[in-house]
């Protein structure tokens, strides 16, 4: 499987994981102060950041060197 496909699969997983119906009525406070619904979704934010880092590494849509060459030719 190509790295880009893995990244897009993780994005889809993130969107699915976002629908956390299993915590819907949970009143647990993580570390005694963070409601579990909030803690879980804060983790989703962290995971999103990590996923997008992978996307910039493995699926970046622009070839910078190619653009620079084109720019030089145009100039």
């Amino acid at each position: 499987m190509k790295p880009a496909s893995v990244v897009w699969a993780i994005v889809v997983l993130l969107i699915i994981a976002h629908q956390d119906f299993w915590f819907w009525d949970d009143t647990t406070l993580v570390w005694g102060f963070l409601p579990v619904a909030l803690a879980y979704h804060a983790c989703i934010s962290l995971a999103a950041s990590g996923t997008w880092y992978l996307a910039t590494r493995f699926c970046w849509p622009v070839d910078e060197t190619e653009m620079e060459k084109t720019g030089e030719k145009t100039a």
Partner: protein, 549 residues
């Protein structure tokens, strides 16, 4: 008075920043509107984040958590972390590449070329401006509320105690207000400015300051001001959180105070039992709005290189968490019995955060924290003001003049005059203080989201045709107007589109969907159907927008 002096000091600092940026201004409209494509990764991150995080993020999220509980974070913040970066990645980089190659400054210019329609602006321009106005309203309304609340006194037995200005300082129409729950009652000082700067005066001052630094510095000034203000509101936001947690919890250590404050949150605010899962799911369509925000489109075009987008794509979800988690917790704490929220504040959720700041922080810290909240508000207003001016000159005036193009100086003048006109209209609308910031924000974002299929198809679907594009815009605008009217113009904060389903599927017999889900479905179906039924774009257009690798 201390808070007011600190706020004034902060506003003067912003003006100095605008003057500083104006010294680097190259005098061309290209520099004024796009900072000559010179914005690097850090400035791009801060300006994009500052622009997307408005009063909605600070004042609105706290107010909404106060009303609806901690589920608000999942509904909009974590979904935005995924979707916003997705839009920057899929749309922003490609838009920047095309903008750089063909000199686009606005969305209409791009769509005009892509859809081969000279008159597209006549339809798209009013739709975009119509949707930006509620967005501006959010900022203008919230700035007035924030400054008023932190400079106001408290109400004891129907009397105002400890305000900055005694009754009679301002004309009665500015000082007196009515109880929103008893509108038949006579206007009173206790339901009006309460000794603070009256909201209309505060909103006007904020509009004036933003106008001045946008006029002086253009896009570069806006990017600098956004960076500075984003740093201010993030740092002061964390300070606000620590101070409020410590004061509310009332324990010796910060950690113990945090735990005490959260332990007092009522159970119903910790769960999402009142939010149908299908509504939660369809909330995910709302952040797609960033794909069609005209001011964000303009920010994308300011990037120095495609690589400048990498930092915003990665850091945006983290920054959202840093801002939203504390705000949502603060809103949930405000529902506990640790603090009594007076009825006028409880009736206006926009006022919850400023009330807590005023009540729990000292005057110096209160002033600084207020500056932080205002920073978040102004860092969105400035981009929106600038973008509206750019759109008017580029999408309306220049096409009407044909070959008789405006000079750079004329273009700047026209842009500035249009900005003043739009700010005047928005300011007048804000005086009615129509709706909750959060509700208004969701409607505004939903409208932009319903246009998301258009930009996605324009960049990735060669079969999109001119007629398909028009159908998409008309379906988006029509469905938005229809549903907005059905919600009594946002008077029903929990309005949903109810889709009948068998009782075996849902015990309520209906899925409660966010209106945005219906709007996106309609605009997509209209766009795809009409595109497939009409002639494909010319080969010249396809070669331009979809070159072979």
């Amino acid at each position: 008075m201390t808070q007011l002096l600190i706020i004034c000091g902060y506003l003067v600092l912003l003006l100095l920043l605008g003057i500083g940026a104006s010294r680097l201004f190259r005098g061309t409209s290209q520099d004024y509107m796009l900072a000559s494509h010179s914005i690097g990764p850090f400035l791009l991150l801060m300006s994009i984040f500052g622009t997307t995080m408005t009063a909605f993020a600070l004042v609105g999220s706290t107010g909404e958590a106060f009303k609806e509980g901690v589920g608000v974070y999942g509904m909009l913040a974590s979904s935005s972390g995924i979707i916003h970066s997705l839009c920057f990645f899929l749309l922003g980089v490609k838009v920047w590449k095309l903008g750089k190659a063909y000199g686009y400054r606005t969305q209409v210019q791009f769509f005009r070329d892509r859809l081969e329609s000279r008159w597209l602006g006549a339809l798209l321009f009013p739709v975009l401006v119509g949707l930006v106005i509620p967005y501006l309203l959010i900022g203008v309304m919230a700035s007035g509320t924030v400054i008023n609340k932190v400079t106001a006194g408290r109400v004891q037995d129907g009397q105002v105690v400890g305000g900055t200005f005694p009754e009679g300082t301002f004309p009665a129409f500015l000082e007196r207000g009515t109880n929103p729950k008893a509108t038949a009652a006579a206007p009173s000082f206790a339901y009006g400015s309460q000794g603070g700067v009256p909201k209309p005066v505060a909103s006007l001052a904020i509009c004036g300051i933003v106008l001045v630094y946008v006029f002086l510095g253009g896009m570069r000034g806006t990017a600098w001001a956004n960076t500075f203000q984003t740093l201010v509101f993030m740092i002061l936001g964390i300070v606000t959180f620590v101070v409020i947690a410590w004061k509310l919890g009332g324990q010796d250590s910060f950690w113990a105070s945090l735990q005490a404050a959260s332990a007092a949150i009522p159970a119903e605010k910790l769960t999402r039992l009142h939010i149908p899962p299908e509504k939660f799911l369809t909330y995910m369509f709302v952040p797609l709005s960033v794909g069609m925000f005209p001011h964000l489109f303009q920010h994308w075009l300011t990037a120095r290189s495609a690589a400048s987008f990498k930092l915003p794509v990665v850091a945006h979800p983290l920054f959202i968490a840093i801002v939203w988690v504390p705000c949502v917790l603060i809103g949930a704490w405000a529902t506990s019995d640790l603090i009594a929220i007076p009825p006028p504040v409880a009736a206006n959720p926009n006022a919850v955060l400023p009330f807590l700041v005023q009540k729990l922080a000292g005057p110096v810290l209160g002033g600084l924290l207020t500056a932080g909240i205002l920073a978040a508000i102004m860092s969105s207003l400035d981009s929106q003001f600038l973008c509206l001016g750019t759109m008017f000159t580029e999408d309306v005036v220049q096409p009407l003049r044909g070959s008789r193009r405006l000079t750079d100086q004329q273009e700047l003048l026209v842009a500035r005059l249009f900005i003043i006109a739009i700010v005047a209209v928005t300011y007048c609308l804000s005086l009615a203080e129509p709706r909750r910031v959060f509700t208004l924000g969701v409607w505004c974002f939903s409208g932009f989201s319903s246009l998301f299929p258009l930009i996605l198809a324009a960049l990735y679907w060669p079969r999109l045709t001119k007629a398909g594009g028009y159908a998409c815009i008309l379906a988006a605008a029509g469905s938005w107007l229809w549903l907005f009217a059905a919600s009594d113009f946002a008077a029903q904060p929990n309005f949903t589109v109810n889709l009948p389903v068998p009782l075996a599927v849902d015990a309520d017999g209906a899925w409660q969907l966010m209106p945005v889900a219906a709007m996106i479905t309609l605009s997509t179906v209209a766009m795809v159907t009409v595109s497939l039924m009409t002639k494909p774009p010319s080969q010249q257009t396809l070669d331009r927008f979809f070159p072979s690798p």
